[in-house]
């Protein structure tokens, strides 16, 4: 079993990042081409100023009415996304690995902070899960994929935490951590997680239409 360890920590990392970056770029390019072909109008109406205006109102907590109406969800969603993105980038173990390989690195989180952030991510995911099950409209909207996705996102965090704390079977957990992390990266361009890449475009387009053409706000 441990034969795949080097594979998972070497080649598959490259594959994962390759698919993540390549897949994201490819899908965005395909989308851009499709827009050229079938909705050329989109380019005419896209306005960077109004796109930015709208995006800003949606990446700051409570800047939009929808967010103000749902304070709990908003706080959790923001904390979740922040921890979700920052933890893997700044967790000591990742930075050190990179330093060892390339003699370059960056500031990293104190271990306790990384621990807390990891727990937050998992708790937030539990909250999302609970919300999906308990809130009628969200339950109705949820598909099996949405639940799998929660698990997919939780997995690298749980296994990472496990590995770091060297609990029972942490070596296996470490392997699973790498595999699940890689799996998440690979899935990113091809599942609902792709919302992260689409966000600037859909929000930006809405902002452009509302701002430049319709003279109204969309937040």
């Amino acid at each position: 079993m441990h034969e795949i360890y080097p594979l998972a920590s070497g080649f598959l990392v490259w594959v994962a990042f390759g698919v993540f970056i390549g897949g994201t770029v490819l899908r965005l390019v395909l989308l851009a081409l499709k827009a050229r072909r079938k909705d050329p109008v989109i380019y005419q109406y896209f306005s960077f100023y109004y796109a930015a205006r709208s995006i800003i109102h949606w990446i700051f907590p409570f800047a939009s009415k929808g967010m103000r109406d749902h304070p709990v969800f908003t706080i959790i969603a923001f904390v979740f996304h922040i921890c979700l993105i920052l933890t893997p980038i700044f967790v000591a173990a990742h930075v050190i690995l990179i330093m060892e390989s390339w003699q370059t690195g960056w500031w990293y989180l104190p271990n306790a902070a990384a621990d807390i952030m990891t727990i937050i991510v998992v708790l937030c995911l539990l909250f999302f899960l609970a919300r999906r099950i308990l809130q009628k409209d969200v339950r109705y909207l949820s598909t099996a994929g949405d639940y799998v996705l929660l698990l997919l996102v939780a997995a690298p965090f749980i296994t990472g935490f496990w590995t770091y704390h060297q609990w029972y079977g942490f070596e296996t957990a470490g392997l699973l951590h790498m595999l699940s992390g890689e799996l998440m990266l690979i899935c990113l361009p091809f599942t609902r997680l792709f919302h992260m890449a689409l966000f600037p475009f859909t929000r930006g387009y809405s902002g452009s239409e509302f701002g430049a053409v319709k003279g109204a706000r969309d937040w």
Binding site: K34, L141, R192, L198, V213, K214
Partner: protein, 447 residues
Amino acid sequence: MNTKNNTETGADQKQIHDVAIEEGARRLTREKIHSVLSELIRTEGGARLSAYSNACVHCGMCSEACHHYLSNDRDPKLSPAGKVKQTIAVIMARKGKVGPDFMKKACEIAFTECNLCRRCMMYCPFGIDVAYLMLFIRRACHKLGVVPQYIQDTAHSHSATMNQMWVRDDEWIDTLQWQEEEARDEIPNIRIPIEKEGADIFYSVIGPEPKFRAQLIYQMAVIMHASGADWTMSATPGWDNSDMCMYTGDMEMTARLKKVHFEAATRLKTKRIVMGECGHAFRSVYDVGNRLLGWKMPPLPMVHAIEFYYEILQQGHIEIENKFEQPVTFHDPCNIVRGRGLHETARYVVDKTCKTFIELEPNREHNFCCGAGGGVINCGPPFKNKRVKSNRIKAEQLASAKSKGAEVVIAPCHNCHGGLEDIINHYELGMEIKFLADILYECMKKE
């Protein structure tokens, strides 16, 4: 022959009987549906369709934006994303392999459970335009011939007469002359200038004005006259700016209607188009038809009546003699507020003309739709009960303004009028509805 044999089959029963939907679906086969839908997705399913389908995280942030959802005890099926889930999501997932019964249901959802008001777009973190997706379904319904009877009949009227109400060329001119005559009883030398080449303003209205609300033309003539405007109306088709084809998904007809409308204005060498108080017509001319025809923005400046009132008040072209006494509230029509940002402009006019103004909550871009827009009221009597019940939230919103003293609701949109009237009657709110022109006409100095 009476073909209006539509009946409502009961409130709890979801599917309402509409002969045209039934008949249309009966003529369909799965093969036909598949071929039409896949062709439509191939040719018209653009980047927005894929981006919106892929970006939605099923978070439900849009649910509370929708009056249908709020008014029907938070029925998840009526949340914007819920309507997407039942319609376009299925079509995409099954690559168009759906049956006639599915199309019937999709038709009812897209035509009568969404007003295309775009409120949800402002609550979705991704700005997903559910109205666009519902329009895609309507377009599919048009292509498949499954469209509610009444709105289809209206689309036919548009195609045959270039107006919404089967008004014939002579009836239109006759109405203008009749209103001119009426107005002369009040202001002897007033004129409704027909076909005046080179006038500054091309004034256009919607078909229901000559048909049912001719006094609005009279009132506008008085406002134009008092403000000294150089205006004209077309004697030829093109005088009507309305458009139900945009809502049945017949975009070819929408393009034709808007072409005829713009060309009436350019033929008369007018400099700008001022239109009466209508929301959907504004959307059609300002935002939809122009794009279909190849214009980024309308080729002539498009001025909604509210902007025109603002202009003449602000520049002192008309004077307000006595402000309107009764306390008023103001309904922001989606198509000119979310669709054109005229909320402050309208408040300026209300402020100048009315003594007491009470805001609806929420208001401006966040106002709830009247429930009639997006062609829903045009789907006719079979769906009326459902429409009114699906906007209980509007009744609550109005009632709250009433409890603060508002007696009159100003709604500068024809559809809103129809919708609000039904709501006020059904929920027994006892409020009066007026156009801004009604108020202006009543309060201004006439000569």
